[in-house]
Structures are given as structure tokens and as C-alpha cells.
């Protein structure tokens, strides 16, 4: 059997699988099952399947025939990348209501992780804008699911991490795009309190709002950073459809430990602080800052990068401070720390966002982080929060049920859609998500 190494975006997880093109090469899945893989932007092992089949759904898009319906919806193949979609509907005056931080995510991956953007309090998560989708399930064949059509199967598939079946196509609701140029305003916040206050005040009145934290700083400056808000500049139109030249930043080669090297992050962060200002940016620049960086994961050295993204309800702000303090104290200040504020949660069983604070922390994948993050898991769970599964590569099964109280309902629904456990991923094996393995 010809196998290929399949990695997470963070390059810290990997396993060998038989990689096939979906749907053309589809044959029997075999004893190790099958998982769909879109853009491969999940940080960890959600789109890996050791010893089994990984079905690539992403394709080089041809969206010239794209047709936006009168009601502002569009029917898309699940392998379409969001970047391509955004570029092709922009000239028509449309965009997606929910856009994650990279353009390479596919429609299928965005649904399977129920992704969120920097505007969650306004629009909720991706799944809330799916009108209908066609899913090939092992147990019940092809199903058309929607909020009203097989609602439980819909709620299990949105955020279901590919474990209920392969999403083939979806009808998405678009939202009018006001302008192509955006005004981004940076405000420096001296500490975590200031940043949270500024973010919470600014978010309702800004299309996009996000906090960036310099995690190398502690003490009085713990959690200090920059609040960035973006608003459309009225009357600017997108460039004619085509591939925009995105300038890539060139960084000098880093030693094997890369950003794990003490000091490197601090210097980069200081530069980021000094660069804080107001500026006009194109729509993609606002949305996809990391896409301009050459291989963020590789900059973290040979072992790659892990991201720890969690959300806690309002009132549990101490957990945010603890996360920054504990990782810093252990000698691993995050190389990137992003704070977001979330609004109402969705109905999907395994959806990540709940009303509260989301903090995403990037680290080089070093073993010594394990006990620190394990302890944080407990605090996050105790506060009623959870860790984002599509970005995870190290959570342990024990905390799962506390973090995701609807896990039982998801399992029940999954048992109907995939009774034999054909859909399986390394994430599923590691966490016993679908209830297999040792109870």
C-alpha cells in the first residue's frame, strides 16, 4: 500500500495514510477507515488518519460559473477554498459573513470545524450561514441536511470534524461587501485588563476586532498588546477578478529551535508594538495576516508548532491571565497570542464558540509544555470553557466531556450516521471522541 505522511498545519503531528483524491479514487475504506481533508489548515491531527485513507477534497477551483442567487446564497463544492470564493464574489458585491484567519480553508473544513471570525459577536459561526448541505454518510448514504432538514444530523455535522461523513456541497448565505479597502486602527493597551476592556467596547461598533498580546511581557504589563479594529472605507471596489499578488514577507533563516529561541519572539513583538498605527488595508490583508508569513509553523523549528486556543465565559478572566502567566513562567511565552470576544453560541453539538473570551496561543511543540497545558485544561474546563478541537494536538480524553457537554448527543447522532465507525481520524483516536477505545 502506497502511503504518504500527512501532517497537521502545525507540523507537530503526523502519520502515514493512503491519500486519495475525492471522489474519483474512492474505494473500500478498509479497517482503518477514512477522513476527509480540505485545505489542511487544522493545526493538529483532525485531518489525519494513521494507516487509513485520507480523502483530499480541496481542488483547484474554477469559480467562473459561480452564480449568486437572488436571496444572496451560493451553492458551492465543499472543496472550494474560502479565499477563492471571497475573491470571486467580491466583484459582485458579496462576501462571506464568517471568515477564519486563513484563505486556504475549504468550505467543507469551515463547516466541519464550525469556524469563527474576528466578528463572532455580529455573525456567529460558519455553520449558522449554511442553508443546506449534501453529506455522504456511511450509515445513511447521501443526505441533504439543513437547520430544518434532519436538524440533529445537521447539528452533528456542523462542527463534527468530518466524523459523520464527507460534506460534498453546501449552500451558503453571503453578506453584502461594503468596500474592498478597510481602515484598520491599532490601539496600544498596556495590560490585559485594558486590552479586554478596549476589545469589549470596540467590538460592537467595528466589523472586525481582535486583540494581539505580547506574551513575553509579564508583571504589570501582563497581557498588554494591541487592539486592532477594522471598518470599511466606503466606495472602494475590489480589483477585477484575478489572483492578487500577495507579497510574502522574507525572514532570515532561523536556527532549528526557531521561535523557540528565547528573545526572538520578544524582539518581533517589540517591533509589532512600535508598528502599531492606523492604516488602510485591502480586505484580504485585514483577514489573513498570517498568510503573508512564509510558513509560520516551520519558523517554530523541527518539531513544529502547537496552538492552544480556548474560550472561557465572561467572568472567568482569571483563566486568561493564568494561561499567560503559567506558560511564561514555565519558560514558554506564546510566540503569538490572539484574544477575541465571542457572542452567542451555535446549536451545533461540538461547536467551539461560547459567549466569552477566546485566547489562542502558539508555542513551539516542546514536551515540557505538556504539564502546563494539562493544568490549564483543568482550569478552562472548571470555568465552563473549552479547547478548540480542530486546532488541538495534545488534549487528553478525560476533560472532553466537561468541555463539551453535548458530546453525548453528538455521539448518539454520529452512531446513526456512521454506525460502523468508518469515519475516523487521529484526533478521534487520541481523544476517543466518538466513544471508541477505552471508556
Amino acid at each position: 500500500m502506497q502511503t504518504t505522511t500527512v501532517r497537521g498545519w502545525g507540523r507537530a503531528t503526523s502519520s502515514r495514510s493512503r491519500v486519495i483524491g475525492w471522489p474519483d479514487d474512492l474505494g473500500p475504506a478498509g479497517p482503518r477507515g477514512l477522513i476527509a481533508r480540505g485545505g489542511g489548515c487544522g493545526y493538529g491531527d483532525a485531518a489525519q488518519n494513521a494507516g487509513g485513507v485520507v480523502a483530499l477534497t480541496a481542488h483547484r477551483d474554477d469559480l467562473t460559473e459561480l452564480f449568486v442567487d437572488e436571496d444572496g446564497t451560493v451553492l458551492l463544492d465543499a472543496g472550494t477554498s474560502l479565499g477563492e470564493l471571497i475573491r470571486s464574489v467580491a466583484p459582485l458585491g458579496w462576501t462571506l459573513p464568517v471568515i477564519p484567519g486563513t484563505a486556504r480553508v475549504t468550505v467543507g473544513g469551515a463547516i466541519a470545524a464550525d469556524v469563527h471570525g474576528k466578528n463572532h459577536i455580529h455573525t456567529g459561526s460558519f455553520g449558522s450561514h449554511v442553508r443546506e448541505m449534501t453529506v455522504l454518510t456511511p450509515g445513511q448514504g447521501e443526505l441533504v441536511l439543513g437547520p430544518q432538514r434532519h436538524p440533529d444530523a445537521f447539528r452533528a455535522t456542523v462542527g463534527g470534524l468530518g466524523l459523520t461523513g464527507v460534506i460534498q456541497s453546501a449552500r451558503l448565505a453571503l453578506t453584502p461587501l461594503d468596500s474592498w479597502q478597510w481602515r484598520t486602527t491599532d490601539t496600544i493597551a498596556p495590560d490585559l485588563d485594558a486590552l479586554m476592556t478596549a476589545l469589549r467596547l470596540a467590538a460592537p461598533g467595528s466589523e472586525y476586532a481582535v486583540g494581539w498580546i505580547d506574551a513575553t511581557r509579564g508583571g504589570r504589563h501582563l497581557g498588554g498588546g494591541v487592539l486592532s479594529t477594522s471598518r470599511p472605507v466606503p466606495g472602494t471596489t475590489p480589483p477585477a477578478y484575478g489572483r492578487p499578488s500577495q507579497r510574502r514577507l522574507r525572514l532570515p533563516g532561523l536556527p532549528a529551535t526557531g521561535l523557540g529561541l528565547p528573545g526572538v519572539t520578544a524582539v518581533l513583538n517589540r517591533a509589532r508594538m512600535l508598528a502599531a498605527r492606523s492604516r488602510n488595508q485591502s480586505f484580504p490583508q485585514v483577514l489573513f495576516p498570517l498568510d503573508a508569513l512564509p510558513d509560520w509553523a516551520r519558523l517554530h523549528g523541527r518539531r513544529g508548532l502547537i496552538q492552544y486556543q480556548f474560550v472561557v465565559p465572561f467572568g472567568a478572566e482569571d483563566v486568561l491571565a493564568a494561561a499567560l502567566t503559567e506558560t511564561r513562567r514555565a519558560g514558554f511565552p506564546a510566540t503569538l497570542a490572539v484574544l477575541k470576544v465571542f457572542g452567542a453560541s451555535s446549536e451545533a453539538f461540538l461547536s467551539f464558540p461560547i459567549p466569552g473570551w477566546s485566547l489562542a496561543l502558539d508555542f513551539p511543540a516542546v514536551a515540557d509544555l505538556a504539564p502546563v497545558l494539562d493544568a490549564l485544561d483543568e482550569r478552562v474546563a472548571a470555568a465552563g470553557g473549552r479547547v478548540y478541537l480542530v486546532k488541538d494536538s495534545r488534549l487528553r480524553p478525560g476533560v472532553l466531556e466537561t468541555m463539551y457537554p453535548d458530546l453525548g448527543r453528538w455521539r448518539a447522532e454520529r452512531a446513526l450516521l456512521d454506525p460502523d465507525g468508518v469515519m475516523v481520524s487521529d484526533l478521534d483516536r487520541r481523544l476517543g471522541l466518538s466513544g471508541g477505545g477505552r471508556a
Binding site: 502511503t3 505522511t5 497537521g8 502545525g10 507537530a12 503531528t13 502519520s15 502515514r16 495514510s17 479497517p31 482503518r32 493538529g44 491531527d45 488518519n49 494513521a50 494507516g51 487509513g52 518539531r303 513544529g304 502547537i306 511543540a365 516542546v366 514536551a367 509544555l369 505538556a370 494536538s393 495534545r394 487528553r396 480524553p397 478525560g398 487521529d426 483516536r429 487520541r430 476517543g432 471508541g436 477505545g437 477505552r438
Partner: protein, 269 residues
């Protein structure tokens, strides 16, 4: 599954009461540890010693001299109960000196079944399972005796040589499958196996062996010596003429019965 920080979730020890095997398993700090062996009471005791907060320890029955199907079943049952196996430690073996075996051919047979045939079948079955899993590591306890076998430990040395060659070839076959084999060649380790024997140079402890194995696992090494210094030492020892080699060994207190043969030995490749 091994996680993004390199943590091991599930470890199976074949020879679950082995002092070296359990030290390696413990050092891997798995969430689930399965001890397979032939003595249920000793296994329970080992399981108790290896219990840690948050760790699940199970015991299973495994007799190395039984038919091949036994070990295949052990692996299947372990997987059914605990999910994928991240690391399998194969630490079955018995140290037999030629003096003990004497003229008892049946004793030689038992020794070979225990230290050679049984472990080889276990290595094969495990390699196949890990290959199908698409990930996982088989750690095989070989010995420096596999590099140069002395007359006093002929049967043991030959058994380890066979196991060593076989395990390395299995490892080569697994390349590209996601699974791998690590062959560990300890020198003299202080365990019940060597209790009462005179200590050889570079004698080491089970903890030191475990540390070596962990280091080797974090790299792509196929063969690890414990302690590490034995690699250059054994490279030298391999080149010694047989007469000199046997004389070196004879410096130590003599075994009870001096073996008669001093045939020239073949080197392992």
C-alpha cells in the same frame, strides 16, 4: 495516538514483569499501560507498582513459548480494549549460561523458545499490527551479547543475535509505513536477571536504560546501546580475535562449568 508534544498514550509490555521493560514503559509516562506476561500474581504486583494518578494499568496473559497465535491474540485483545498501541516493549528473555544448560537438550530448547523464537514471533506480529495501524514503535530488548557472543553464553547470545538481526530487518521493512523498530542493546544491567553475577565493565541501571531508550525514540535511531559508550566499545570488541576475546571474559570469575568449545565465531552483520 502519540500527541503533538510527543507524548505516548498507550504502551504494551510483552514480558510485563521485566524490570527493564517496565522501567522503559514507566519513563514513557503513558495514560494506558498494558502488562502482558505469564505470571498473573507477579503481573498484578507490577501493575500496582506502576500505578500513577490518571494512569490506567491493565494486565494480560502472555506465554512466550506458546504457539504464535497466542501473541497475535494478545495484540488484538490489547488493541480492542485500549485502542491503538503507540509503543510495544518486547522484554521477554531469560539469561542462560551454558553451564546451567549442560547436556540438557530440552533446556536448550526452552531457552531458545523463550529468548529467540517467542520474541521473534512477537516481533513479527507486532510489526504487522503497527504497520497496519500506520504508526507506533516496537522496542526490542536485544543485548550486547548479540554483537559478540561468548562461549559461556552461547545459547543466549545466539538467541539474541537472531532476534537482533530479525528485528532490525523488520524495522527496515517497516520504513515508510509510519511504524518503526528500535533495537536496544544493553550491557550488564542490575536486575534480578543478573543478580549474583559478577558485574561487567559499564554496568548500568534500569533507569539509565530507560533514559537511553527515550533519547533514542526522540531521534530516528534504529539501534541504541545502553550505556551509549558500549557502541564504540563493542565496535572494538567485535574486531578482537576469538582467543583474545575469550581470554578477556575468562579474567572474570569462571563459570561453574568451563565450556569446552572455543570455535571461532561468526560476526553478525
Amino acid at each position: 495516538m502519540r500527541d503533538g508534544l510527543g507524548r505516548t498514550q498507550t504502551v504494551l509490555v510483552l514480558g510485563g514483569t521485566s524490570e527493564i521493560g517496565t522501567a522503559i514503559a514507566d519513563a514513557l509516562r503513558p495514560d494506558t499501560l498494558i502488562l502482558a506476561g505469564r505470571d498473573p500474581i507477579a503481573l498484578k504486583e507490577a501493575a500496582g507498582d506502576l500505578a500513577r494518578p490518571g494512569r490506567h494499568v491493565e494486565t494480560m496473559c502472555y506465554e512466550a513459548t506458546a504457539a504464535a497465535a497466542t501473541v497475535v491474540d494478545v495484540l488484538a485483545a490489547a488493541t480492542a480494549r485500549c485502542g491503538d498501541l503507540d509503543v510495544v516493549v518486547l522484554s521477554v528473555g531469560a539469561l542462560t549460561d551454558e553451564g546451567q544448560l549442560g547436556s540438557d537438550t530440552t533446556a536448550v530448547e526452552t531457552a531458545l523458545r523463550t529468548t529467540m523464537l517467542g520474541p521473534m514471533l512477537a516481533a513479527h506480529a507486532t510489526a504487522m499490527r503497527l504497520r497496519d495501524q500506520g504508526h507506533g514503535t516496537l522496542v526490542v530488548l536485544s543485548s550486547v551479547a548479540a554483537v559478540r557472543t561468548r562461549a559461556g553464553l552461547l545459547t543466549y547470545g545466539v538467541a539474541k543475535t537472531a532476534l537482533d538481526v530479525y528485528a532490525r530487518r523488520l524495522g527496515a521493512q517497516l520504513r515508510g509505513s509510519g511504524a518503526r523498530v528500535l533495537v536496544v542493546r544493553p550491557g550488564h544491567v542490575r536486575t534480578r536477571m543478573t543478580r549474583g553475577l559478577p558485574e561487567a565493565p559499564f554496568t548500568t541501571t534500569v533507569q539509565a536504560v530507560a533514559t537511553r531508550v527515550l533519547a533514542a525514540l526522540s531521534r530516528r535511531t534504529a539501534v541504541a546501546y545502553a550505556p551509549a559508550v558500549l557502541r564504540p566499545v563493542m565496535a572494538g570488541v567485535r574486531l578482537l580475535p576469538p582467543a583474545v576475546f575469550e581470554r578477556l571474559n575468562a579474567v572474570k570469575p569462571a563459570p561453574r562449568i568451563t565450556p569446552a568449545s572455543s570455535e571461532s565465531e561468526e560476526r553478525t552483520s
